[in-house]
Amino acid sequence: MTVDAIAAAAREILTPESVITDPVRLRTYECDGLTHYRVSPGLVVLPETAEQVAAVVRLCVEHGVPFVARGSGTGLSGGALPRSDGVLIVTSRMRRIVELDLPRHRAVVEPGVTNLAITEAVREHGFYYAPDPSSQQICSIGGNVAENSGGAHCLKYGFTVNHVLGLEVVTPDGEIVQLDANDPGYDLLGAFVGSEGTLGITTKITVRLSRAPETVITLLAAFDDIEGGGRAVSAIISAGVVPAAIEMMDALAIQAAEASVSCGYPEGAGAVLIVELDGPHAAVAHQFTEVERICQQEGAFELRQAASAEERAAIWRGRKSAFAAVGRISPAYIVQDGVVPRTALPQVLAGIDALQDEYGIRVANVFHAGDGNLHPLVLFDDAVPGEGERAELVSARILDLCLQHGGSITGEHGVGVDKSRYMPKMFSEEDLDTMQLVRCAFDPRGLSNPGKVFPTPRLCGEVPGVRKGVHPLVESGQAEQF
């Protein structure tokens, strides 16, 4: 078997213990954060250097074997789902912070470094790394680059692609190439970030470090209904205020959070809004007054301002626990990730309401309201015959609603294996063919993470993603979910 041949050769290039062929150990890597898709990889390698990654990729090319890169495995779209006939290249041993260059606001890190580790390394000097996906305690920066990860605070600060200044990548040919944002030529760096592992493997990342803001104010506003909260969001943005984050939860999501972490949100709230403002003290103080006024004007019946780090954490606790918390009120659920223009939020939420009635399925709404990024949690009981299928239908139709209103099928979780079949709904055949030109330029053999992003024949036994219970990483307290 070709994978066996690669294993033998890889043991020569890497240390023998960095090459895993034992089926029991291989199964550890059978899924990422989207646990419903499971495939045991043909072979796992744990390289420690870019040269080793390149050598393994060249072996794959030589034998015509597909390869998939994996960081921490927290992705929510199955982007790191292995191939049974392929090699899984795990970057978890490449976790050195190579260089901290504070005067130039830069850090150079290896792909296995966790997102939060960068901030932790520079926090004492008053810096941080801005993109903050909710899994930041454990997700790897290499994975962030592959997925162009966002987070609650990307409303003001942008996504991974806006904070990556340079990359060292191993191309699908096994060449090591440096891509620098300052270099003349095509913006291959921009095309690479967010390509979900289909254009190569990142082995070194230069990121921008941001100054920690002088002041942070977090506000919790309770509304009778979600319409009031939605109006407040629109009014805040229209007023020219750009908060660091604006998050919203509906009554069902609040109920779940209360049951799970007793977050103590105002009683009787049909919706809560969390608004975080940061920046220079003078600017934040002014914006806070404005946000407070708007919330009251739009009918907020209670406003709470976090006066300390503890109080801020308490406000965020309910929001951050929401995904896992719905496990308390439903035996199973599907996490959806769709985007709509902010002004379409009321119609889309009304549409989701109508879907709940039509299918008899409950949906808890949690979302990054500032940028229209919805995370509806479609709840169902898999013990009830037919309910799982109805939930899948509701989940799919929510994406249809997003597209009808000019939105996107994914704001931050990626396409992966989970949503490749929706791509033709968002893009024409010509659009997808044009994207394939990029793919073919980088990876003419189609060996780098094949079967992801673009619609292809589905794998055997593949069914749409259903989350049941809590991801092991969340359960163990290693990660939080938005």
Binding site: P103, R104, H105, R106, G126, E147, G150, F159, V161, L165, V177, Q178, L179, D180, N182, D183, P184, G185, Y186, D187, L188, G190, A191, V193, G194, S195, R211, P213, I237, A239, G240, G279, P280, A282, A283, H286, V339, V340, P341, T343, D371, G372, G406, G407, S408, I409, T410, G411, E412, H413, V415, M423, F427, D431, D433, T434, M435, L437, V438, A441
Partner: protein
């Protein structure tokens, strides 16, 4: 005469030269579909195509290897949709940045992308990836572009991105086409994220010896006053340089005072910019790039490279892009020697953006770059017959 059904095509004149190359025809499409028709006709007749908007940067880059047809986007000048509530605009490529700004200002909004050359269009701004002072805070065109429609060499109409800011579905072709100098596709429409017009703006100006510039730069970048731009103007390399900082938005006056105190008197605060603010100098244009702060430390190297050669310097030194301009009557050999000297002394890329042929003939305009093999492969896939601005860009792409 080339005929494309439904599209105005005229004979080219001496006014239509592209880097000294005279095209045979000029097409004036009015819609994306008409651009596609023009490109299908060009494919059928093996015509090489260059696209022009305001023509403000048509002399940038190498002359095309060949140019049969000029696509003039002058009739693609509509702001198609300004969704003010969503802070998003969709606009045709031929719209001038001024027209776009006027439209957006009516709703109190702006595209936070400064335009260094008057008369530039959306398409040209994207194709050359120009930006101005506020790149420090808002990034460049690629950071503000959220969706694109472009026409490929064979007439295929391709979209990527969309009209929402947060979107990770599919490859980001917008980033690939931005700064590609028309060598991959004809940009037809663009969708941008917008920002509210800032309530107030203040410019703080001070003079510094160029050898000590790193210190105020570092203090400014590390400060909590959120400067959106830090520019340097150095018209006489034997004298001091002027640093000008822009703060905008809420409490601008208060923050401007804090910046003034940081720069120390006699720094001044003004409600309007200095005349040189955000403008590219005319003539030969050399762009040096580098990470934040690197360029500030590079100023003495520029002076050393120049020696007695007459040059001026201006640009977004803190954000990592500055422009060096030799005097217009400079000897071509001296310009070439200066460029080579700059490349040996500065750590980042040094690009010759605009220069007369006699200068450009003596040097590589672009200098070394990473990933050129991949770029060539991208070009081969998108434009296998080399009909889109052939030879204009890096490595003869």
């Amino acid at each position: 005469m080339l005929t494309v059904p439904g599209v105005t095509v005229r004979e080219a004149t001496q006014d239509d030269l592209v880097g000294g190359v005279r095209p045979r025809w000029v097409a004036l499409p009015e819609t994306v579909e008409e651009i596609a028709a023009v490109m299908r006709a060009s494919a059928a007749h093996d015509l090489a195509v260059v696209t022009v908007g305001g023509g403000t940067k048509l002399h940038w880059g190498a002359p095309p290897e060949r140019c049969d047809l000029l696509i003039d986007t002058c009739c693609l000048g509509d702001v198609l949709e300004h969704a003010a509530g969503d802070l998003v605009v969709r606009v045709q490529a031929g719209t001038t940045m001024e027209t776009l700004a006027e439209t957006l200002a009516r709703e109190g909004q702006e595209l936070a992308l400064d335009v260094p050359l008057e008369g530039a269009t959306v398409g040209g701004t994207l194709a050359t990836a120009t930006a101005g002072p506020r790149r420090l805070r808002y990034g460049t065109a690629r950071d503000l572009l959220i969706g694109i429609t472009a026409v490929l060499a064979d007439g295929t109409i391709a979209h990527s991105g969309g009209r929402v800011v947060k979107n990770v579905a599919g490859y980001d072709l917008g980033k690939l086409f931005t700064g590609s100098y028309g060598t991959l596709a004809v940009i037809a429409e663009a969708t941008f994220r917008l920002h509210p017009l800032p309530a107030e703006r203040r410019w703080i100006t001070a003079e510094f010896p160029p050898d000590e510039l790193s210190f105020p730069m570092r203090d400014l970048l590390d400060s909590q006053h959120e400067p959106v731009a830090i520019e340097v103007d150095w018209p006489d390399l034997s004298g001091p340089c002027t640093v000008c900082v822009l703060v905008e938005g809420v409490a601008a006056e208060e923050r401007a005072t804090a910046v003034r105190d940081l720069l120390k008197p006699p720094a001044t605060v003004e409600a309007s910019p200095p005349p040189w603010w955000g403008r590219l100098p005319d003539g030969i244009l050399i762009e040096a790039r580098g990470p934040r702060l690197t360029l500030a430390a590079d100023l003495p190297h520029v002076r050393d490279a120049a020696g007695r050669f007459d040059v001026t310097l201006r640009g977004s030194v803190a954000a990592g892009a500055m422009h060096v301009t030799p005097a217009s009557d400079s000897d071509p050999g001296q310009v070439a020697a200066f460029l080579t000297e700059l490349r040996s002394r500065l750590s980042g890329p040094v690009v010759l953006l605009a220069a007369p042929d006699e200068v450009a003939a003596l040097v590589d305009r672009w200098g070394p770059t990473g990933g050129l093999t991949l770029m060539r492969r991208v070009k081969e896939r998108f434009d296998p017959d080399r009909r889109l601005s052939p030879g204009r860009f890096v490595g003869g792409l």
